[in-house]
Each structure stands twice: as C-alpha cells, then as structure tokens.
C-alpha cells in the first residue's frame, strides 16, 4: 500500500503548526521545549515523505542530522532549564523577563 505524499505533508504541517502554537502560547519552559522537538520531528516527517516520494536517500540522511542536532539541543537546553530553576525556582517564561528595554 502506498501512502500518498499529501498525507505525509498534511500530518507534518499539522504537527508543525501545533508545535509553533505551543512555543508561542505555553508558559512552561519544559513544554515549550517539547513543542520545539515536535516541530523538528514534523520536519523529519516531511523529509521522509519526500524521500519516499522521489525514491531518494537524501531526505533520510538529513533526518539523521536533524536527530543529532535535536539530541545536542536537548542536552544544552535541559541543562539551561535546570540551571534557571535552581536560580529562580521557576521555569515559567513569563517570570523570566529581565532582559528588557
């Protein structure tokens, strides 16, 4: 059974939009972080879909890169969040607005 490209892309767009909205509206830094992961994975999905559609391997290769970057990002990001929490006892981004004006 062949899944049409439109399905892949539709799901990818939906995931990406959900992630973006989550980044913009959620207050908890951890949740924002998870939303970013979701956006990355929606991109991965699009790559896979195109790779399948065009019968190439380039898309699949890129997915590995994205996964690597995402892993590194998680390592740095979580460390930052832990550090902030230790300092400020909060991870709500509303409270982290010192860098203004």
């Amino acid at each position: 059974m062949v899944v049409p490209l439109e399905y892949y892309l539709g799901l990818s767009v939906a995931l990406f939009a959900l992630g973006a909205i989550g980044v913009l509206v959620r207050r908890n830094a951890l949740v924002i972080f998870m939303c970013i992961e979701m956006m990355l994975n929606s991109v991965n999905l699009a790559f896979i879909g195109f790779a399948d559609h065009f019968k190439g391997v380039d898309g699949q290769m890129f997915v590995f890169f994205v996964l690597t970057v995402a892993a590194a990002e998680v390592a740095v990001g979580l460390a930052l969040i832990v550090a902030i929490f230790r300092n400020r006892a909060t991870v709500y981004v509303d409270d982290l607005n010192l860098l203004k004006w």
Partner: protein, 631 residues
Amino acid sequence: MMDYIWLVPCFPLVGFLINGFLGKRLPKNLVGIIGSAAIGLSFLLSAGIFLEYLKLPAAARPVEKVVYTWMSAGTFQAQVAYLIDPLSLVMLLVVSGVSFIIHIYSVGYMYDDPGYPRFFSYLNLFVFFMLTLVGANNFLLMFVGWEGVGLCSYLLIGYWYEKQSASDAGKKAFVVNRIGDFGFLLGIFLIFWTFGSVNFREVFRLAAEYPVGSGVITAMTLLLFVGATGKSAQIPLYTWLPDAMEGPTPVSALIHAATMVTAGVYMVARCSALYALAPFSLTVVAAVGALTAIYSATIGMAQFDIKRVLAYSTVSQLGYMFLACGVGAFVSGIFHLMTHAFFKALLFLGAGSVSHGLHGELDMRKMGNLKRHMPITYWTFLIATLAIAGIFPFAGFFSKDEILFHSLVNGNVIFWGIATTAAFITAFYMFRAVFMTFHGESRVDPHVHPHESPPVMTVPLMLLAMLSVVGGLVGIPLIKGLHFFHDFLAPAITPVVHEAHYPAAFEVALMMFSMAVAAGGIYLAYRMYIKLPDLPTVLAQRFPTAYDLIYHKYYVDELYDATVVEPIKQGSDFLWLAVDDKVVDGAVNGSAGVVAWLSAHLRRLETGFVQNYALAVLLGVVLITGYLIGR
C-alpha cells in the same frame, strides 16, 4: 673663515639647547658662562669674517654662502644661505657685539632670579634668530628670523609670566606684531609672484628693469613697510613697545632697543633697491617716521616710569631711522641704528642698574640724587643721554645730524622741522629723566638703601659708554674720505640721495643749529627740574587737557581698544555664542537628540518575553516565505 659663517648663528643655538635642556642641572655660574660665551664666539667669528671681507678685492664682493637647499619646488628655490655684504656685516657685528655685552650684564642682573637658565636660553635663542634675520640672503630665511625674534620677544616680555600685566604685554606684542608680519608675508608673496625668486640679489637685479614708480613695486614696498611698522614699532603699530617694558631690563635693552626693533630699518635698507623705484613708498616711510619721531617724543615728556620714557624714546629714534630711509639716506639710517644700539642699550642697562640698586623701583618720582650712590651708573647714563641728545662729540651727534641734514636737503623743510622739534623734545625729556633720577632732592623710600651695582654690571655699562663716545667717529662728516661708514656701506645700498654738494658752511651751520636746539632742550629741562622743581606741576595744572592727553598717551590704546579690539571681541562672542554654540553644536547635539528620542520609543519593543521574539521571528518567516511564493 667665511665658509664658517653658518657657525655665527649656530653658537647661540647650541647655547640655547644646552641651557634650555640641561640648564636646571648645571651650576648657575656655568649657565651664565655658556650663554655669554656662545654670543662672544659669534662676535669673534663675525669680526674675523669682517676683517677677511675687507681684504677681498671689490670684484669678489659680496659673497654668498649656501649651507643647504631648504626647499626646491619647480622654479621655487629657498636656501639656507648667508649673504656677506657690508650691510649684513655691520648688522652681525652690532647684534652680536651688543648682545654679548648685555649677556654679561644679565649674569649679574638676573643672578637672583629663579628662572636663570630659562632666561639665558631664551636670550640665546633670540640672538640665533636675530643673526639669521640679518645674515639671510633671501626673504624667506629672513622671515624665519623675523618670526623667531617675534617669538622670543613674546617669551621674554612674558618672562615673569605669573604677573598678569607681563603676560598680557607679551600677548599684545605678539598679536600686534602678527598684524605687521601679515603685511610682510604678503609682500614676500608679491615679490615671488612678480620676480619668481626670493633671493635678494636676484630680486634686486630683476627689479632694476622696472620703471621708477611702477605699481607693483610700490605695492610690495608698502607691504614690506607694514611689516616694518609692526616690528619696529611705528605708527600705527607702535603700541606694543611701551608695554613690552614688562620684561626684564636686559631684554628691553637687547630686544626692544638695540636689535629686534631695528629689524624693520634693516629690512628697508636691505630693500633699498626696491624702495629706490617707489618714490611714493619712500614718502610714506619718511612721513610715518617723522610723525612717529615727534609723536612718541611728546608722550615721553610726561611719563614717570623710567623704562617707559626710554621706550617712547626708542620709538621716536626708530622714527628718525625711518625718516632717514624715507628721504633716501639709507646709510644714515643704518648709521643711526648702530649708534642708537650703543647708547640706547646703555640707557636701558643704566635704568636696570638704578632699579637694581633700588630693589626694583622704576618710578622716577621715587628717585632723585642717586648720583651720590651710583657714580658709575650716573656717569655712563649721562654719556648716553648726551649721545641721544646729539651733543658733540658723542655718537648720536654724528648720526642724528646726518639724518637732519638729509631730511632737509633730500626731503623738505617740513620733515626737517619735525625732526628738529623732535630733537629738542628728546633732549628735554632725556635730561628730565637724568635730573629726576640722579639730581635734586632724594625722594627715595627711606627704607631703601641705594647702592652701586656689582662690576659684572658696571663693566658692560662702561664698555657701552665707550662705544657711545667713539661710535660716531666712523662717520665723520664734511671731510671727504673720513666717513668710513658711508664708504664701506655704499656698495650694499642703492642710493636715492642726489649727491649734490653743499657748501661746508651750510652743513656746519646746520650742525650748530641742531646743537643749539639740543642745548635748548637740556636747558629747559634744567630750569624745570632743577631750578624750579614746582614748575612741572604748575604747568600740568595750567594746561590740564594737554597734560592729560600726553600723560594718557593720547588715549591711543583706548582708541584701539574701542575701534579694533572690542569689535573683534564682540564678533568673536557672536561667533562663539550664536554660531558655534547654536549652529555648529546645535547640529551635532540635534542629531544625537533625534537618535536618543527614537531609541527611547523603539526600546519598548524589547519586552523581555522570549515568546514575543519568537512570534516576531515567525511572522518574519511567514512574510518572507509569502513574498517568495507570491512573487
């Protein structure tokens, strides 16, 4: 020896460098020795060159020695080079000789001054520039010396800079001189523009092809004369010289009597070839000289500061020199320059010796009967006074008489009348100074005990007194062949004088008459200040307006303040407060203000909420993508 002429100005320069950089660390006596020895060496070398020059055959004269080419651009050539001719030799000898004597005097006079090394280094620097000025073979190098002596004059007038009046006087001298220098510079430009050269001999050779009275020559000579009025303190730029008396007395003697202020006369005589082609300029020179001579002589009558009397006397005598040049008797002008250097330096040094003995007192109303305490100072001062009054056989007699003679036969009766009247006034106020200072009742502050100066000061006085006595004998009139000065100097000067011969009786009669005039002035001073000491006060009360006018120097300083200085100040205030503060600073501050105002509002975008930034990024991406797709 002529090859070493560059050493003549170099000795003082070396003295300046040593005393200027190391003076504070050297023992005091050594500083004085270095300063004086540098000038002494210059004098000896000049004398050697002079003797060598006398032996040269006429065809080999004059000599030019090029040290090196200073600049060379296209056809323009400026060299550091020295012209050895009678005129520059006379000036070199007079300048280095008188400077040497004054340096020795300064060793004693300035001994207790904390700035001793500074004083000697400035003095040496001055002599360096002065020798450069008179030795130069082109206008540009002369201008270097010209500006240099102006600088040293400024430094030395303001030598006691912690005194407000001294530093003001220095500034005044500098600014007034700059006005004259501007004219001088324009004159040099015009000369280069016209002749394509600044070398004296080249310029004079080319100028000879122009007709007498040509406009361009008249213009350049007038411009040069503007420079001369500044440096030599002639109307209208003379006001700085009386104020320059704020400097130490040796400075007044050296710079403001004997050497620097005569630079203008030297320059006019040097350019005699140009002036000979410009009768109008000559008339201007003569008229300004005659006017200055009588004008400042009248001011000298009512001054009480002994140095100011001498200062006005200097201005007046410089007027004589210009009068001589103006009627074409350049040699007589230089002759008077030389004798004046001797006796006026002596007068100033005598005044310095008096103030040294009275702990700095310069007001003649607080002197009197000093003859008893300072015999050497008195007698030398008297000799100089007789010389300046023009009494036979002192130096001033010969030179002044020549000027009077030429002003009559080459000028006209008006010039002669003015000059003779000025001679009368000169004799009067100079003897007034002698009588008030050395004769009559003592008005000295009882706490002050007058005393004679040490030998290091009195020996220079005696040397100069000797020169004031015999200095005129190099120019004996009437007998042909005995006027050595004239015969020696003649080749360097383009004569304007028509060598008409007048009967000896006429000349003798004129001499007798001018002697009688001088004697009359002396007698009047004697009547007023010895016989009837109340008379001056009575006269001052009888003619209050005239006295007030003279006492306040005709209010010329006030006039200049009102017409020149104040408008410039107000103009500067306007430029400062309106143009600079409002327009220039306004533009700068205004642009900064606009940026500050914009940023004050734009910074509100920096909310600190990371999600706002993320939204902005997203919107940006959407917009750019939308644009790329919809294009």
